[in-house]
């Protein structure tokens, strides 16, 4: 029974990672940039949601939508100002910029409102415990799992079935050839950032609702974990992010359950390294050797 309880714990933690990882993996998949600022957009989303709820007195869903919209715009602004000038620069220069943007958002937030934390109102969504054979499942965990799954499917449909999705994949593979098809590369990349950041914003609000506590550095660790989840699943692959997130949550829960809670983060990274050594492209990545 306890094991089942721990599995449930792991899945509910994992779906949060998955939620953040979706946007991460989507941006990486298209732009091939490790957007370290993703976790910080997530944080901004959580705060926008918080202020919408407390200051504007909105309920959960309007706040979620406002946060998603605001983060989408924010993501596009970041891309236009910081990343766009570096499109043709080396990957590592872009990575450093992403680190810079991440620091900037964190410290900008601290500068604007201080470093103190805020607590989400606890009554936003009904929270009940569902007991099944002694295993208690929180209704909110189910909701988060459901939301992640739905978003994953929507994302998968956007990328693989819609016109903008085709444009995204074309740009991701070969931006110059995409231009020759009449695709506006700038707009397509902006759309990618908009969607990815909106997802981060949604994850922020949901995180706030679930874990209550938000603060300017809240994005750092979940951001890193989500990135690990994305890599585990095969970065750039949308269902991979989902599976990677859940897997990471399960690993962490089981390691803690075994009494090694202090080794939890290390275990996540050990698994990451092992998986990468044996499956260098992650679980779902196609093991393509470079064609010579």
């Amino acid at each position: 029974m306890e094991l089942f309880q721990q599995l449930v714990n792991g899945i509910s933690l994992g779906s949060i990672y998955a939620l953040i990882a979706l946007g991460y993996t989507m941006v990486y998949g298209i732009v091939k940039l490790i957007n370290f600022a993703h976790g910080d957009v997530f944080m901004v989303g959580a705060f926008i949601g918080f202020y919408s709820i407390t200051v504007l007195d909105l309920s959960f869903f309007p706040a979620l939508l406002i946060s998603m919209a605001a983060c989408a715009v924010f993501g596009v602004i970041i891309e236009r100002i910081a990343y766009k000038p570096l499109r043709n620069a080396t990957r590592i220069a872009a990575l450093i910029t992403a680190i810079g943007v991440s620091l900037m958002i964190e410290n900008g937030m601290i500068f604007i409102r201080g470093a103190q934390l805020e607590a989400y109102p606890t009554n936003l969504l009904p929270s009940e415990n569902i007991d099944i054979f002694g295993v208690s499942i929180k209704s909110q965990s189910l909701l988060i799992l459901g939301v992640s799954l739905v978003l994953m499917m929507i994302l998968q449909i956007i990328v693989h079935k819609t016109k903008i999705g085709k444009a995204m994949r074309a740009v991701s593979y070969d931006a110059e050839a995409a231009k020759l098809m009449g695709i506006n590369v700038n707009n397509t990349i902006s759309a990618t950032f908009a969607i990815g950041s909106a997802l981060a914003g949604a994850a922020g609000v949901i995180f706030g609702t679930y874990y209550i506590k938000i603060e300017p550095l809240m994005g750092v660790l979940p951001g890193l974990k989500a990135f690990v989840a994305a890599v585990l699943g095969g970065i750039g692959i949308i269902p991979g992010a989902m599976v990677g997130g859940l897997l990471l949550g399960l690993i962490e829960a089981l390691v803690s359950a075994a009494g090694f809670s202090l080794w939890r983060d290390a275990a996540a990274f050990v698994v990451l390294i092992l998986i990468l050594i044996f499956l260098p492209q992650g679980l779902f990545g196609k093991n393509k050797r470079e064609k010579v």
């Binding site: 601290i110 201080g114 470093a115 506590k213 750092v220």
Partner: protein, 369 residues
């Protein structure tokens, strides 16, 4: 060159106080609270001044990193030549400055670093290092006795923030006192700061079926632990130390989760004591109705602690004279209680035990050292 400390401190009309605190990074909220308390106090003190001199606060951010704390302390002592240093808000970053304070002979006062090693280690007192708060063992012992005697707990679980010396110190003292009194520790678990999901470990604690859970940690995580613990059906009493004390704890955990929980503390913002209420309202007036936590109160007290010593030593006092004056502090009335130092530079203060009722702290009992 180390002999320049003679010239340190007062220059012209000002007395420089250095603050080397966690303004950014992981401990930022503690450092910022301390600064707010100190700035409030200095504002008040400067209305009168001491021997015609006013205090000037020189702030450095140690980014919550020990290395930066060392750098800041070096700068305060050799560049700014302050009379007294305040810092840091956490035990670890304070430890990083101890050697410099001793080497440069500039008093260092930590408002909130409760680790006992700060002021004395292996029986050797750090001459120039002081603190405004009580030390870890005291709180832990108080909590253990309370659990045993008042709550009649026979078994207890301890849930430690292993990234904090504070938490470990309290836990060790608790464990010793609790087992000495015949209780058993049925589970010891730990987490690290900034964790947000405690469910897996709480499931473990739940199955150990303790009568009582001791969580000596800071409110950020404690709030989440309490909430998640109650949600997963652990309804025994929880208790912690002054690290719990923040209005945010109530916001995070919610009033329901806080039922049946207790803390030991330096002070309580709800305390009707005149001095305390005076401080609380002055603080709220200055900082947009924000309620001061213990860090702010101790920051505030630290400034008065220093001012008192300088008053006694004279406005032109050298850092060494200030140190002597600090050592001889006796009966100074502060927000966090009356202050007297023992031979290890640790204040002898009483602790209060508070109980949360409907999300508010209610005075339970007072324990003297």
């Amino acid at each position: 060159g180390c002999s320049d400390s003679e010239k340190s401190g007062s220059d012209g009309d000002t007395i420089k106080i250095g603050a080397n605190l966690e303004l950014t990074g992981g401990g930022a909220s503690y450092g910022q609270s301390v600064v707010e308390g100190m700035e409030l106090a200095i504002g008040e003190l400067n209305k009168e001044g001491i021997d015609g001199k006013k205090f000037k606060l020189v702030k450095y951010d140690n980014k919550s990193e020990a290395a930066e704390a060392t750098g800041g302390a070096t700068k305060l002592t050799s560049q700014d030549k302050v009379s007294v240093m305040v810092g840091a808000a956490t035990s670890t970053n304070t430890l990083a400055q101890v050697q410099i304070a001793n080497d440069k002979k500039i008093p260092l006062i930590t408002p909130t670093g409760t680790n006992s090693d700060i002021t004395s280690k292996d029986g050797k007192v750090n001459d120039f290092v002081f603190r405004t708060c009580f030390i870890d063992p005291f709180q832990g012992t108080v909590a253990a006795n309370f659990a045993k005697d008042t709550l009649k707990a026979k078994t207890a679980a301890i849930y430690i923030d292993s990234s904090s010396d504070y938490s470990k110190g309290l836990a060790a003292a608790f464990k010793e006192a609790f087992t000495e009194g015949g209780g058993t520790i049925v589970k010891e678990e730990s987490f690290v700061q900034k964790d947000t999901d405690f469910q897996a470990t709480l499931t473990n604690i739940k199955s150990a079926k303790p009568d009582f859970v001791f969580v000596p940690a800071f409110y950020e995580e404690v709030g989440l632990i309490l909430k998640q613990a109650r949600e997963s059906g652990i309804d025994v009493p929880f208790m912690g130390g002054d690290g719990w004390d923040s209005p945010k704890l109530i916001e995070i955990a919610g009033a329901d989760a806080l039922e049946n929980t207790f803390i030991t503390n330096h002070y309580s913002a709800e305390d009707p004591d005149e001095k305390i209420q005076g401080f609380v309202s002055a603080f709220k007036a200055k900082y947009k109705d924000k309620s001061p936590d213990a860090f702010a109160a101790l920051g505030y007290d630290t400034a008065y602690f220093i001012a008192d010593a300088i008053k006694r030593a004279g406005g032109d006092a050298t850092p060494e004279k200030i140190k002597d004056a600090l050592e001889s502090t006796d009966g100074l009335a502060l927000v966090s209680g009356k202050m007297k130092l023992d031979e290890n530079h640790n204040p002898i203060k009483s602790a209060s035990i508070l109980k949360y009722v409907n999300g508010e702290q209610k005075f339970e009992t007072k324990v003297n050292p």
